[in-house]
């Protein structure tokens, strides 16, 4: 048991080392685009870790997490665009100044996506299985079409932010500095997810995934436990959305698209469901494939599909499961 665990820890270290080596190489060789790709990996990994809490640990297959990613993105877009035009935002009679400060934007993004997750979760969690998948998808599609038809913030065309938002003491326009920022957030999110999974809450969540009846007989509410993890999950994915918008300096309704929700699930399946570093491994693999295979053939997604099929059929634990072996609880 400890051998398998430490093997997983070794693999996790290798993944982090590979990412660091890639970035180091990019800095030395002066290839800023590679740094951008690595930043994409880090941000997608954050979104994936958020989803993994609900999907991997809670057994809640949400096909609507792009809703939270997009809300995080639009939180950034809206705040930054108001700061850009020096026009305050008027909301329910309140006048709010726009801002270019990343910490403020992150906070707003997380609160907004957490609230959305509370609302969507409160309704969706009354269902389960395929119905849960469909209803989360339906909510995300609602937000998607709302964003398309909302002209104030660019509608279908999206919203460009000309200068990346600021973080005290950093020049965020420098790719390596922005990558560093995202990597630190990723590390914090990984640490939080690890603590959460090992906490009494994580224990109850795991039990609720395996046998909700037993949880109820223990005087605990599976619905409440799932709703809480859904909100935490949504907030983390929303934070990733704000970072993603800042990476591209652009937000559009595509951030709400169901393809993106599907990609988050793919990160998890590729990397390993309910594995701490699974989403990072999956996102890294996905972005690498997209970049290299996508450069070779337009039909790279065909090969991705084959790979997914192979993993689902032969390696249910994903990349990390394949290398680290069976996971044990306790």
């Amino acid at each position: 048991m400890t051998a398998a665990l430490s093997r997983e820890a070794t693999i996790n270290c290798v993944i982090v080392a590979l990412l660091a080596a890639t970035v180091l190489f990019a800095v030395v060789a002066d290839e800023p685009f590679t740094i951008t790709l690595a930043t994409r990996v880090a941000i997608f990994a954050i979104a994936g870790i958020g989803l993994n809490l609900a999907l991997g640990h809670g057994g809640l297959v949400s096909l609507g997490h792009a809703a939270f990613f997009g809300i995080g993105g639009y939180a950034m877009g809206i705040l930054a665009s108001h700061a850009q035009t020096f026009e305050p935002l008027v909301l329910f009679g309140l006048t709010i100044e726009g801002t270019k400060s990343m910490p403020v934007i992150w906070l707003v993004a997380m609160v907004a996506s957490a609230l959305a997750a509370l609302l969507i979760g409160a309704l969706s969690l009354r269902t389960s299985g395929i119905y849960f998948i469909m209803i989360t998808l339906a909510f995300a599609q609602m937000v998607y079409y709302f964003a398309i038809s909302w002209p104030a913030y660019g509608g279908e065309d999206g919203l460009s932010i000309y200068v990346r938002n600021s973080f005290p003491g950093l020049n965020t326009l420098d790719p390596i500095q922005f990558f560093g920022l995202c990597a630190v957030i990723l590390a914090v999110v990984i640490w939080l997810a690890d603590r959460l999974v090992r906490s009494p809450f994580g224990f109850a969540l795991e039990a609720a995934r395996q046998n909700p009846n037993r949880v109820m007989a223990s005087g605990l509410s599976p619905y409440q436990i799932r709703l809480i993890v859904f909100v935490i999950s949504g907030a983390i994915t929303g934070l990733a959305g704000a970072l993603y918008a800042d990476l591209n300096r652009f937000v559009s309704p595509n951030m709400f698209s169901w393809q993106l929700s599907g990609e988050f699930i793919i990160f998890i399946i590729l990397g390993g469901t309910a594995r701490l570093f699974g989403p990072l491994a999956g996102a890294a693999l996905f972005v690498t494939l997209e970049h290299f295979l996508g450069g070779l053939t337009e039909f790279w997604q065909f090969w991705l599909g084959l790979m997914l099929l192979a993993i689902i059929l032969f390696a249910r634990g994903g990349l990390i499961g394949l290398l680290a072996g069976e996971r044990r609880h306790g």
Binding site: R195, P200, F203, R214, A217, S218, G219, I225
Partner: protein
């Protein structure tokens, strides 16, 4: 006479045209084992689900400790001290035996709303959980995964989990189901020793166990109470013999 801990008054439940329970009343007094018997389809399991809050009755009321618990769902009833063992073992398969006990006791040990603290594995909590296992002779199996223990051990664990919650009322739905003679004998002894600790409402098909354990019996036939009384009363009641025990009167 002591006030009943649990009382069911005129409870009815229909599924479409089928009346699973009609106008059922029974009480569970402190210190007693009350057995609920009846042929298959008599509505015993439905009644258990109505008491546990898994189903809502069409009519009637259920009170626990003098408090009407009709509006409460199964989670709140469990929180109030209603414990149950399931007809088909319902455990967390990828948890160890001990972890299942820790889950059962979680409500009394700070609850699940602690997010960053590491769950205690070596602490007084482990002691408490181990003590709960001792009652059912499972302490040596504490660190084995539930998916790897035997059927009999799972049945014992069901009882251990219910007891570890220090319940006010214990609902047992066929605890002997699928047990061999040894297991049945051991479980009968255990349930017998519970009487002073917690009143038990017992649904059971094993008549030897029922007659050995029950202080009172309620016979349910076609969703109705046929009779309630002591083991002797029920044994001698003619209509019971006809309806259930298969003896020609």
């Amino acid at each position: 006479m002591a006030d009943p801990v649990l009382s069911i008054e005129g409870v009815s439940k229909s599924f479409g045209a089928l009346a699973a329970c009609s106008d059922v009343s029974l009480t569970l007094k402190p210190g007693e084992i009350h057995a609920l018997i009846g042929p298959n389809g008599a509505g015993k399991s439905t009644l258990m689900k109505l008491i546990a809050g898994e189903l809502k009755p069409d009519a009637g009321r259920v009170t626990l400790d003098g408090e009407n618990i009709d509006p409460l769902g199964p989670v709140q009833r469990a929180r109030m001290g209603m414990a149950r063992t399931f007809q088909i073992s319902s455990l967390v398969p990828e948890f160890t035996v001990l972890q299942n006990v820790q889950l059962a006791q979680m409500q009394h040990h700070g609850g699940p709303l602690s997010f960053l603290r590491r769950i205690a594995s070596n602490s007084p909590l482990r002691e408490a959980a181990l003590n709960a296992l001792e009652r059912t002779d499972l302490q040596d199996r504490a660190d084995v995964l539930v998916s790897e223990v035997s059927h009999g051990e799972r049945r014992q664990l069901e009882v251990a989990l219910a007891l570890s919650r220090k319940p006010k009322v214990l609902l047992m739905d066929e605890p002997m189901a699928g047990m061999g003679p040894d297991g049945t004998a051991r479980l009968t002894k255990l349930i017998d020793s519970l009487r002073k600790e917690v009143p038990v409402l017992l649904v059971e098909h094993d008549m030897d166990a029922v007659f050995a354990l029950a202080d009172r019996l309620t016979v349910l036939v076609y969703g109705r109470v046929l009779t309630t009384g002591s083991v002797e009363d029920v044994r001698n009641a003619k209509q019971v013999q006809q309806a259930y025990l298969g003896v020609d009167a």
